[in-house]
Assembly symmetry: D2
Homo-oligomer: 275 residues x 4
Amino acid sequence: VRYVIAAGVHGIFVLGSTGESPALSDQQRLEVMRTAIRSAAGQVPVLVGILDCSVRHAIEFGRAAEEAGADALVVVPPFYFVHTQNEILRYFRILRAALQLPISAYNAPTATKVHLAPQTVDALAQERLIVALKDSSADLSAFRQILLQQRSNDQLHILTGRQDLIDMELFMGAHGMVPGLANEAPQLFVRLYEAAQAKRWEEARAVQESVLPLLDVRLFSSDRVSRPAAAVGAHKTCLKLLGVIATNTMAAPWDSLGPEAEEGIAALLREHGIL
Amino acid sequence: VRYVIAAGVHGIFVLGSTGESPALSDQQRLEVMRTAIRSAAGQVPVLVGILDCSVRHAIEFGRAAEEAGADALVVVPPFYFVHTQNEILRYFRILRAALQLPISAYNAPTATKVHLAPQTVDALAQERLIVALKDSSADLSAFRQILLQQRSNDQLHILTGRQDLIDMELFMGAHGMVPGLANEAPQLFVRLYEAAQAKRWEEARAVQESVLPLLDVRLFSSDRVSRPAAAVGAHKTCLKLLGVIATNTMAAPWDSLGPEAEEGIAALLREHGIL
Amino acid sequence: VRYVIAAGVHGIFVLGSTGESPALSDQQRLEVMRTAIRSAAGQVPVLVGILDCSVRHAIEFGRAAEEAGADALVVVPPFYFVHTQNEILRYFRILRAALQLPISAYNAPTATKVHLAPQTVDALAQERLIVALKDSSADLSAFRQILLQQRSNDQLHILTGRQDLIDMELFMGAHGMVPGLANEAPQLFVRLYEAAQAKRWEEARAVQESVLPLLDVRLFSSDRVSRPAAAVGAHKTCLKLLGVIATNTMAAPWDSLGPEAEEGIAALLREHGIL
Amino acid sequence: VRYVIAAGVHGIFVLGSTGESPALSDQQRLEVMRTAIRSAAGQVPVLVGILDCSVRHAIEFGRAAEEAGADALVVVPPFYFVHTQNEILRYFRILRAALQLPISAYNAPTATKVHLAPQTVDALAQERLIVALKDSSADLSAFRQILLQQRSNDQLHILTGRQDLIDMELFMGAHGMVPGLANEAPQLFVRLYEAAQAKRWEEARAVQESVLPLLDVRLFSSDRVSRPAAAVGAHKTCLKLLGVIATNTMAAPWDSLGPEAEEGIAALLREHGIL
């Protein structure tokens, strides 16, 4: 946390997908959250992920986050059962009524297997149920539709959660980004953001293109290590190599990437001047 | 619970998908489990579902089930992140090492979005990690492959979780079934099972065919009510109409089916002599 | 053709998926069809597949089949574009109006990427657009629904196109089957059919189970050879080994299975007493 | 054809998806192609689509295009059967060996249900099998990967076939576009292209955004009219309203959009100053 704050990020998001939140027990989640809030020490806001199947449990955890001093909540649609857009809207209504902190919606269809449709985002915005949207979907057409729909709505902050098309998403009108890789290379993303703010689009694109080789986690996935495990494991390995965290062990049943992958990641980081 | 025991079922499964388990908080799950165990009063075994994304949380809940006096655990592969078959196998190994009760694997790909492959079932059986399999997938080819693979393995009890093809699954060699509708019409399934045991296949088929109209929950799903909500809501409405439970309200964000659907369900039950 | 007639099959289906029809030019299709009709010599009916994206081209080819002396046409929904059920119904209406021969609908969603829904089959039957259905889908619930819907309709002949669940599909009420493997082992399927006709279900199941190892084409598929190429290639290799055809070369771009796969197939055939 | 040439387009593509090519008979395709070549009269190149399941038929049609005076061929991977990337590569090799005209690969996964992977595009480029790529997929990550892979390859012309993200695809490095809507509003796309060439990205984005409302064919699709039929029907209706073509009737089994949709389209065109 201190590492990324020093680099100039504008906020901290804990207990998202990259934070392995669904794989942690409640006790572990509380510890992660409290540590982050203590480390941020009020310098930047701390956003806490609520990735849950149970509205009742989500409320319980949201209240714990409020008590711990979090600044905002980031909520995915409930998963396991696939819900209709109306049911998703009801879920956000119930959380909004039960909790005090501002809520961001988080569209993560790869994990939740349900899309937060543009018309649902619009309903969430019009009912003032959310203050922000983090969109990690691969559907840029829908994302563009949301951006245009909400262009005149200055109450909704729209962020991208993807990492390989940030330059274009800022170009389309997104207000910011929540890239997992900002854990390792926060400066790069601060630079990309500033270039976009100044409409130096070619520079933004050049920074984005320089980041791309770091993102290819497919290199490290296999029958043994799933794609999401490879992604999270690559992050943890980077941070261990950078001396930020002590171990790259992931929550079970995810297995370690193995020494060969770790060397590959170290080589990548050196090649890009991060290590 | 007493209702179905009176009808002659051979066991009780609580906190599965039909039991809305993922939508409940831990506190609610513990209550459901304890009530079921108390009501069963040792007459039939009580199996408790562990539908979780976190291996650590799954272990905590499994231990609570052990303390409460459950007879066995029923475990789906972890969801949210999509795991490889190797990662699923590791998940079961970890649970097996940490818990005492017998474990059944539960293949529910509609909900978990991952298939428990025949070769994984075989590994689970060979390593003695599980004593039973409940298969609710629609893939009868894979189910047949599992049945033939395990035919000589008398340590693995293979059950179907589907409701519309039970006659055929018993005919293929399944040892039993876990039909959600047995909550409402346990006699029908007891009859179907006994016919199959006696190899009176035409009778088994006739019972199965008589059950089919009761299963068409698509009639009650809509933009407002998702398919799984319609399925669970139809169950709860049946049980309310039968006087078994007091309300058919489901865990939020699922909305009630509405009066029209309730009348439709009542008509169906009357037509089939259940009400 | 003469090989399978000698074994007692009740009809011949040419230019289906196993016959690589979509990969052939019009000229090649005409030759295949004429050869089959000549060889059948009126002993059994010859059904000709119309697997097309263009209704106009389908009509042209249907007329060519009529002139060549075919006995019936087997029609898949048009592919490339994904059509609605209403558009599929219109397609069959247009073909019915333009052609003389009886038409069978062929549900092959793996290839056409669209499902022929039970209510569409019902509309096709009620409008007397088809005399038969061949269903190769993996959806046994939908197939059962069709069988029950059409039970009192003695004008519609319902056949399964799957090969691994034939015993059960006959048990559910299917009238017959069109198994690709009948090209190599027609006696087995004649036996399976006769057992089912006599309601000797356990015998039907035993025959079906004995066939299963022959069906596992996944053994022969790879990055180089796709699943459908492996399936068709296994058929052609069998027939070459049996001396029925001269070569197992497939239509480009499908590559040959290679010598290792051919030996594997030969071993399988010997093991099952076919070679 | 004369309409769009007058507006300044750089080439004509006939018999693609929007041209309903798969739904036409060979005779109809030949007529469309010959008419286009005659009308273009050498002013701009005419590219002819080869959307086929059969390599033999594709060669026959490619030769007919060569005789008719086409300038290039545009080839999708074979469909119906789903091919591996290796099989797709073989398909292009066979066509390249049999035909004289330059070949463009066309990635249209919505229709062909198979993705032309970046490594396959790379192999096609390295073996000099293609001179251009038209990519209509929604996968911008893969498209960016292709663009970066081929950046130093000045022998491959990369075009986008999407219509709602053209500004960004040009920004990422695409060399041009093949938008269906250029049939109706060629000036808009010429303007968008020129803005991008001059790196006036904000202007390119403004033009793109102004086009978006014209693209929402979902408004006109229904149970009766599939999404692709609505898209093609909207094009034909536009062109009929503009007096370019005489009828908006589509190839069967596609039904007409109906008067309400036609009025909606006319209103849209008037609103955007096209009519």
